[in-house]
Symmetry: C2
Subunit: 199 residues, 2 copies
DNA sequence: CCATCTTTGTGCACGCGTTCACAAAGACAT
DNA sequence: ATGTCTTTGTGAACGCGTGCACAAAGATGG
C-alpha cells in the first residue's frame, strides 16, 4: 500500500507539515500513525470533499475567443465538469463545432438547463449582454455563475457569482515589477511605503 | 471639490471603514479631517501606487483562442498595459491580424523584447511549449511571467511567475454548490465538516 | 508480549491583520 | 476668535489562523 507522510507532502507543497495535518484532520482521521496517509484513499477523500467525484454539467454562454478557449480547456473534464452546451446569440455561429460540440442558439438556454439539470453557468459574453444572460440563467434554475465579462452582475440571494478579471494578475505582476525597478530611484513622499498588495 | 468619506467608500465596497482608512494611510495622509478624501487626488495616488500610470509593454505568446481573447481584452489598455506584440510558433498565423495587431513569429521574440523593453510576458501556449517559451523570455530579459498554460514553470531567482488556472474558480463554485445541495441528505462520517475552501 | 520507532492528531502559544474607539485636526458657523 | 461638528489617523484590544511541541497510536522487530 503506497503511502505518504505529512512531512513529504508538506515539503512538496512548500507548506508547514503541522498545518497540512490539521487541514486533513478536518476531513476526518484518514492517516495511520507511524505510517502516513494511504495515497489512494487520501486522493479519493479529498476529491469527494471538493466535489471532484461528482458530475457537474455546465453551459458556456458567449462563444467568442474566450468561450472557445474555455470549451477547449482540458482541465474541466478531469475535474468533474461536463460541458452540456455552448450557447451564443449569433445565429451565424449556430451549428458550428467548437471543441467537438455544436454551438446552439441562446434561445435554447432554458430547455438545455432544465433537461441537463445544469446548476452552473459560465458567462463569456461581451459586457453588455452579461446581465441579461445572467437573468435568464437564474430564471432557468442556475444557482452558480462564473463571470468573465467585465461587469458586476446582480443576482438574487442564494445565487453565487464569481468574477474573473484576466487583468488582475497582470496588474499584480506590474506592481511587483514597479517595486523591483523603483526601489532605488523613485522619490517617496516620506519614508517607505508598505505593500498593500497580495503576495 | 468632490469628496468621499471613508464611511461611504467602505459601505460601497462592503468593508470596514477603519480598515479602509488604515490602508489609505499607508499611501500617505491624503484625507482631510471633517471632509473626507478628494476623489480625483485619491484616484491619482492609488493609480500611481499600483503602477496604473505607467506604460507596461507586454508580449503575448501563443495566439490560440485564449491568446486572441487576451489580445482583444479591453481591460488591459485602461490599466496601463500595451500589447507590444503577439507571437506564435505557427508560421501559418504569421501576419494575420488579431485585435488589430499582426501575429509575428516566435523567433522575433528576442528582438521585440529588447526593442520595446518588455518586462512582462504572457504565456497562452499549450502546456508542452510553455517552459521553452519561458526560458527564452527570461533569457531575453523578461522578469515577470503570467502563465495560462497548465504547467508549473521553473524560473531563476528574481523572476516572478503567476499561474492562472481557469478551472479553479469553477471548482470553488462547484464546492459551494455541493454544500447547498448536500446539507440535508449527505451522510457525513461524524458531525459536520468545516469549510477548507476560500470564500 | 514488550520495547522501540515513526508519524499522526491536537492543545497551546505566538503573531499578524482586523476592528474598535478616541484624540487630533480641520471645516464651518456665529 | 471661539465653539461645534465631522471625519481622519492611529494606538490598543481582539480574534483567528499558523506553527510548535508533544502525547497517543499504531507498526515493526526481537
Amino acid at each position: 500500500m503506497p503511502t505518504v507522510s505529512s512531512e513529504e507532502l508538506a515539503a512538496a507543497a512548500g507548506v508547514n507539515s503541522a498545518k497540512l495535518r490539521k487541514d486533513f484532520s478536518y476531513l476526518g482521521s484518514y492517516g495511520t500513525r507511524g505510517v502516513g496517509y494511504d495515497v489512494e484513499y487520501l486522493v479519493y477523500q479529498i476529491s469527494r470533499e471538493l466535489g471532484l467525484t461528482q458530475d457537474w454539467p455546465v453551459v458556456i454562454v458567449g462563444i467568442g475567443n474566450l468561450g472557445a478557449a474555455l470549451a477547449n480547456y482540458g482541465g474541466f473534464a478531469s475535474r468533474g465538469f461536463r460541458v452540456a452546451a455552448l450557447l451564443d446569440a449569433d445565429t451565424a455561429l449556430a451549428g458550428r463545432l467548437v471543441a467537438g460540440l455544436p454551438v446552439r442558439h441562446i434561445d435554447e438556454l432554458e430547455s438545455i438547463v432544465a433537461d441537463n439539470q445544469v446548476s452552473i453557468g459560465v458567462i463569456a459574453t461581451p459586457a453588455g449582454a452579461a446581465q441579461e444572460v445572467t437573468d435568464r440563467l437564474v430564471a432557468a434554475g442556475v444557482t452558480s455563475i462564473l463571470n468573465f465579462a467585465p461587469t458586476v452582475l446582480s443576482v438574487p440571494d442564494g445565487v453565487d457569482v464569481r468574477k474573473v478579471d484576466l487583468s488582475i494578475e497582470l496588474q499584480i505582476l506590474a506592481f511587483h515589477e514597479q517595486r523591483k525597478a523603483g526601489e532605488d530611484d523613485r522619490p517617496e513622499p516620506d519614508g517607505d511605503v508598505p505593500a498593500v498588495m497580495p503576495a
